[in-house]
C-alpha cells in the first residue's frame, strides 16, 4: 500500500504519474470520450463542446496567471482575435481549416506578444489594468473594422469539410475539439517539466530573484504571453467552428472574468485545476437552467431569473473559493484522493 510520496531522484520527482492507476483511468476516459457522441444528445454534446473549448482557454490562462504570475484580464480579447482571424483566413482567404486554426492561434499569439510588452515594466494590478484596456481596444477594433469582421452584424463561418464530411453537427465538431484538447493538455503538463516551465514558476515566485538567477525576464514573460494567447487563439478558432457565427458580443469583459474565475475555482498553477474549473464554470449555468426548468411548476417566474441567479452564484462561488479553498477544486481533489489512498490508516 502506498503511504506518502517518497521521491529519491529528480526523475521520480518530475514524473507525471506516480502509479499506473491514473494512466488506466485516463485511457478509459479517452475511450469514453471517443464513443460519447454516439450516446449523448445534441444538448449535452453542445455543453461538452463548450467545456472542451473552455478547457483549452483556461489552461492557456493558467499558464500565464497561475504559473507565471502575470495577471491578465485580456483573455476574451485573445479568444476574439483567434476566432475572428481563423474565420477570416477561412472565409476571405480560403485557407483550409486545418491551417486556419493554427494560423488564427498564431495571430492571437502575435497580439499576445504586444499585450505582453507592458509586463516588462508593470506588475500586479498595473498589468491587470493595462490588459483591461488592451481588451477594450481590441474589442473596439473588432466592432468597428467592419470590412473584415462584419462588426455587430456577425461573421458567418461555413462548416469545413474533412474527407468529404462537412463538420456541421455537434458530434463532428466534438471530435475536432477534443482532438485538440488532448494534445493541448499534454503539452501544458509537460511544459512544466522543462526549463521554460521552471523559469515561469521562478518568475511567479519572485521575479527579481529569478532574474538574479539568470532567467531572462524579457524572454520568458513574453513567451508566457505568447503561449497563453496561442491557447486562447486555439480556443477561439474552435469557437468559430462550434458556433459558426461570430458576434463581438461573445467576447465581452465578462468572458475574461469567467476565464479568471475558472482558474481561481479550479486551482491556480494546476493543469487539472484548469480542467475542473472549465467544467465547473460551463456546467454552472446549465445546472441552474435545469433546476429552474424543474421548478417551473412550483415557481413559474423562475426561468426569467436564471441570468441573475447565475451572476449571484458565480460571484458567491468565487468569493467562497478565495476565502476557504484558495487552491481550488484541484486541492479538494488531492485531499479526497489522499484520503482514500491512506484509508483506513490515515496519519
Amino acid at each position: 500500500m502506498k503511504c506518502g510520496g517518497f521521491r529519491v531522484s529528480y526523475r521520480s520527482d518530475e514524473r507525471i504519474f506516480d502509479t499506473p492507476v491514473p494512466i488506466v483511468g485516463l485511457v478509459l476516459l479517452l475511450i469514453v470520450l471517443a464513443v460519447l457522441p454516439r450516446f449523448a444528445g445534441t444538448y449535452w454534446l453542445d455543453v461538452l463542446n463548450r467545456i472542451g473549448i473552455a478547457i483549452i482557454g483556461a489552461i492557456g490562462l493558467n499558464i500565464l496567471v497561475g504559473y507565471t504570475g502575470q495577471i491578465s484580464i485580456g483573455q476574451a480579447a485573445f479568444l476574439a482575435v483567434g476566432a475572428y482571424s481563423t474565420a477570416i483566413f477561412e472565409v476571405n482567404l480560403g485557407v483550409p481549416f486545418y491551417l486556419a486554426i493554427p494560423l488564427g492561434a498564431l495571430t492571437a499569439s502575435g497580439v499576445g506578444l504586444i499585450f505582453g510588452i507592458p509586463s516588462l515594466r508593470l506588475k500586479g494590478l498595473y498589468l491587470a489594468i493595462a490588459t483591461l484596456s488592451a481588451h477594450f481596444i481590441t474589442t473596439y477594433v473588432i466592432i468597428h473594422w467592419e470590412s473584415m469582421t462584419k462588426g455587430v452584424i456577425g461573421l458567418m463561418v461555413p462548416p469545413p469539410t474533412v474527407f468529404g464530411l462537412p463538420l456541421d453537427s455537434d458530434a463532428r465538431v466534438f471530435y475536432l475539439i477534443y482532438a485538440l484538447v488532448v494534445p493541448a493538455t499534454l503539452f501544458a503538463k509537460n511544459l512544466f517539466r522543462t526549463k521554460v516551465g521552471r523559469a515561469f514558476i521562478a518568475i511567479r515566485d519572485r521575479d527579481v530573484a529569478a532574474s538574479v538567477m539568470g532567467v531572462s525576464l524579457l524572454r520568458y514573460k513574453l513567451l508566457a504571453f505568447v503561449i497563453s494567447s496561442f491557447y486562447a487563439g486555439l480556443a477561439g478558432g474552435l469557437m468559430a467552428h462550434h458556433s459558426r457565427i461570430l458576434f463581438p458580443d461573445a467576447f465581452t469583459l465578462l468572458v475574461a472574468i469567467d476565464y479568471l474565475a475558472m482558474i481561481i475555482i479550479g486551482g491556480m498553477g494546476s493543469i487539472l485545476g484548469s480542467i475542473l474549473g472549465a467544467v465547473f464554470m460551463t456546467l454552472l449555468p446549465e445546472v441552474l437552467k435545469l433546476t429552474a426548468t424543474s421548478l417551473t411548476s412550483v415557481y413559474p417566474q423562475g426561468f426569467g431569473l436564471i441570468a441573475s441567479a447565475r451572476d449571484i452564484v458565480f460571484g458567491l462561488a468565487v468569493i467562497f473559493f478565495l476565502m476557504y479553498e484558495p487552491q481550488g477544486l484541484a486541492r479538494i481533489w488531492v485531499r479526497v484522493r489522499s484520503f482514500w489512498q491512506l484509508w483506513p490508516y490515515a496519519y
Binding site: 495577471i71 507592458p118 491587470a128 484596456s133 477594450f136 473596439y140 474565475a261 441573475s308 449571484i312 478565495l322
Partner: protein
C-alpha cells in the same frame, strides 16, 4: 465667436461635467487603495447600485427627496460595511490576483441582485432640473450638466476639507501613509478600512444619482461607465486624491473631445475607447501616474 469654437467649448463643458462624476468615482477608488491597498474592480457596480436604490426610493416607493436621499446613502453605507467586513477583511495579505477576483466576485453578486430585484429594463430617472438650456456666452449649457458640476465640486471640496481638517480624515491619511505608525498612535486601522469603503460606496452612489439624472435614466450600461475610473486613476496616480480629481476632469474632457472630433472619421464609439488608449500611453510613459507615489523595489 465662430461655430468651431462654440462646438469645442460645448464638448469641453460636457466633458468637465461628466469628468466631475469620474472624479467622484475615482475618489472612492483612491480612498480604498490608499487605506487598504485593495484595487476595486467593481466600481461600476457600486455606481449602478446607488443609481438603482435612488430610483427605487424616489420613483418606485415615491418617498419625498429629503427622506429618499438619506435612505439611499444609508443603504450605501450598509453595502460598504458588508463588503469590507464580509469579503475583504478575510483576504488581507492575500496575493493581488485574489483581491482583484474577489472584487469581481462581489460586483457580480451586486449585478445579479439588482437584476433579480428590479429587472434589467431601463428605468426613467426623476427629472430634478429643468430641460431648458441656458447660455453661457454663446455656448448653450444644460442645467443638469451645470448642477452636476456644482454638486461634484461641492462634494469634492467637502471631502478635501474633511481630509485636511477633521481628526478622522487625518487618521485616514495617517493610515494610508504608514499603517504601523498609525496603529501605534492609536488609530483603529480596521475602522479606517471600514470607513474608507463606506465613503467609497457613498461617493459612488452620489455619482450614480448624478449620472442617472444627466442621462435621464439608469440601466446596466452605467456599470461599464464605472470602468472609466481606471484611466482616471492611472492618469492621476492610484494613491493621489488630488490626482483623482484632476484626472477625472481631464479624462472627461478628453473623451468628449475625441468623441466629437474623431467619431465622424472613425465611425462612432471613439468616446468609449479613447480613455483606454490614453491609459496605455500613460502607463508606458509614467507607470505611476502624474501624482502617484513611485514604488521602488530594493533587493
Amino acid at each position: 465667436m465662430n461655430e468651431h469654437l462654440v462646438f469645442m467649448l460645448q464638448l469641453v463643458i460636457t466633458g468637465i461635467a461628466v469628468g466631475g462624476v469620474y472624479s467622484l468615482m475615482a475618489l472612492g477608488f483612491v480612498l480604498i487603495f490608499k487605506a487598504s491597498s485593495v484595487v476595486n474592480f467593481g466600481p461600476g457596480e457600486l455606481v449602478l447600485f446607488g443609481a438603482y436604490v435612488a430610483w427605487a426610493t424616489i420613483l418606485n416607493m415615491k418617498l419625498p427627496l429629503y427622506v429618499a436621499l438619506p435612505l439611499t446613502l444609508g443603504v450605501a453605507i450598509l453595502l460598504g460595511l458588508v463588503i469590507e467586513r464580509g469579503v475583504l477583511r478575510p483576504l488581507i495579505g492575500e496575493p493581488t490576483i485574489s483581491v482583484i477576483m474577489v472584487t469581481f466576485g462581489f460586483a457580480s453578486v451586486i449585478r445579479g441582485f439588482l437584476n433579480m430585484t428590479w429587472g434589467s429594463d431601463t428605468r426613467p430617472f426623476p427629472v430634478l432640473f429643468s430641460q431648458q438650456p441656458f447660455h453661457l456666452g454663446p455656448v448653450p449649457v444644460s442645467p443638469v450638466h451645470l448642477w452636476s458640476f456644482v454638486g461634484t465640486l461641492a462634494l469634492l471640496t467637502a471631502f478635501t476639507l474633511f481630509f485636511r481638517l477633521s481628526l478622522t480624515g487625518m487618521a485616514m491619511r495617517a493610515t494610508a501613509d504608514n499603517q504601523q505608525v498609525a496603529l501605534s498612535l492609536g488609530v483603529s486601522v480596521k475602522w479606517i478600512f471600514a470607513l474608507s469603503w463606506c465613503i467609497a460606496t457613498v461617493v459612488s452612489t452620489l455619482g450614480g444619482i448624478i449620472l442617472g439624472s444627466v442621462r435621464g435614466g439608469v440601466d446596466f450600461s452605467l456599470a461599464d461607465l464605472g470602468l472609466k475610473v481606471f484611466p482616471v486613476v492611472i492618469l492621476g496616480g492610484l494613491d493621489s486624491v488630488a490626482g483623482a480629481i484632476i484626472g477625472g476632469v481631464l479624462i472627461g474632457v478628453l473623451e468628449n473631445l475625441s468623441g466629437g472630433y474623431l467619431d465622424p472619421i472613425l465611425g462612432g464609439g471613439v468616446k468609449e475607447v479613447a480613455p483606454f488608449v490614453a491609459l496605455v500611453m500613460i502607463l508606458m510613459v509614467r507607470p505611476y501616474g502624474f501624482f502617484g507615489k513611485r514604488e521602488i523595489e530594493r533587493v
